[in-house]
Amino acid sequence: MRNLLLPLVSVKEYIALNQKIYPFVMLFGIFLISIGWITGLFFAPVDAIQGHSYRIIYIHVPMAIFSQLIYWFMAIWSFSFLVWKIKIGPLMTISAAYIGCMVTFIALFSGSIWGIPTWGTWWQWDARITSTFILFIMYVALLTVNGSFQNTYKADQITAWITLIGVINIPIIKKSVDWWSTLHQPASISLASESSIDLSMLIPLVISILGLGLFLFALGLKVSRLLLLKYEET
């Protein structure tokens, strides 16, 4: 138990653990993404209504899922930093913010590309798209706030507080397609109920999601090491 908790309180232990697990996570993530995307882009059947354009689902949906999950990840680390003074809390929060910002942007961009053949428009101010855009602004805001304070202690505290308050937006984003009549379709896959898409399309999607998760986690490990180096310099 002590060995599990040590990386939380000791930066040295965290770096050691980071260096140990990074290669495996990254390789496995790339492997799963490759399987998922190759299967999805080349072997999954054509959609009856959307044709081949639906294949962007294998990029867009995993990105959209992780844009929200990464925020929850940040909120948990911010909470643990504020309450239990976990040393690596701010480091994980900011590393995740960089990743989350990138992922949200890709989700919005890929969604725009999908919008042209499906809705005939790049952009629409509907609930889901607008709330995801707000999420992107939140990531940018967090990074801006964190970077604008010379005093790292102050920066970490303020970033943690803003992260925690911003959590209110995540359920709104998730439920926006159910609460409002939006252009964006409701969720096709759900943990609690049966999926509305065919298994031959669903399996590559699930593999893509898992692969992207591991890849982003590995990327986060790398970013956190780079940030530690930056902190050491200053």
């Binding site: 010379q150 005093n151 790292t152 202690y153 200053t234």
Partner: protein
Amino acid sequence: MITARNLSYSINKNTLFTGLNFECKSCTVFQILGSNGSGKTTLLKILSGITQPTKGEVEIIGYPKKIFLGHKIPIKDYLTNLQNFSFLNPCASVKDYCSYCEAVNLGVSKSMYSSNLSFGQKKKLLLSKIFQQSFDILFLDEPFVGLDKKTINLVKDRIIQLKQNGALVFITSHQETIDGDVVIDLDTRLIDQ
């Protein structure tokens, strides 16, 4: 009244001071010396509770009435001199204002806006706080800056009077030395009695 144990303060990698230990009782004037950037103001802020130390702790026994008067002057430009005086001293009257102005030679109208005051005049108005009220602990950061010689002597006398009445005074000053009972030198880390 105040006990400081192993006080350290650093911002990012810059350590101002470390391992300060001292105990302060009432009826004492503590003089804090040090070069620019040695952490005099920071130490005062830590002792007064404005800032938290990086390491160590400050223990204050009871609930003493404290005041911190720093470099900045909280005089509002959009208020008149009398309004600012009332803001600083809620229980003081117009008569108190007039007698204080006479004592420190602050010959300004009650209804004049404080934006027209000079730095020294604003400082005099601010220092009315220590004249009109009594405190158990005073933290005075460069209190003599901008004051004329007569007012400096008045302030020194008031500090000594407060000390004799049981107050604990922390003071930093590059210019005027006041006979401090205890001197804390942040450059040499010496605490001299």
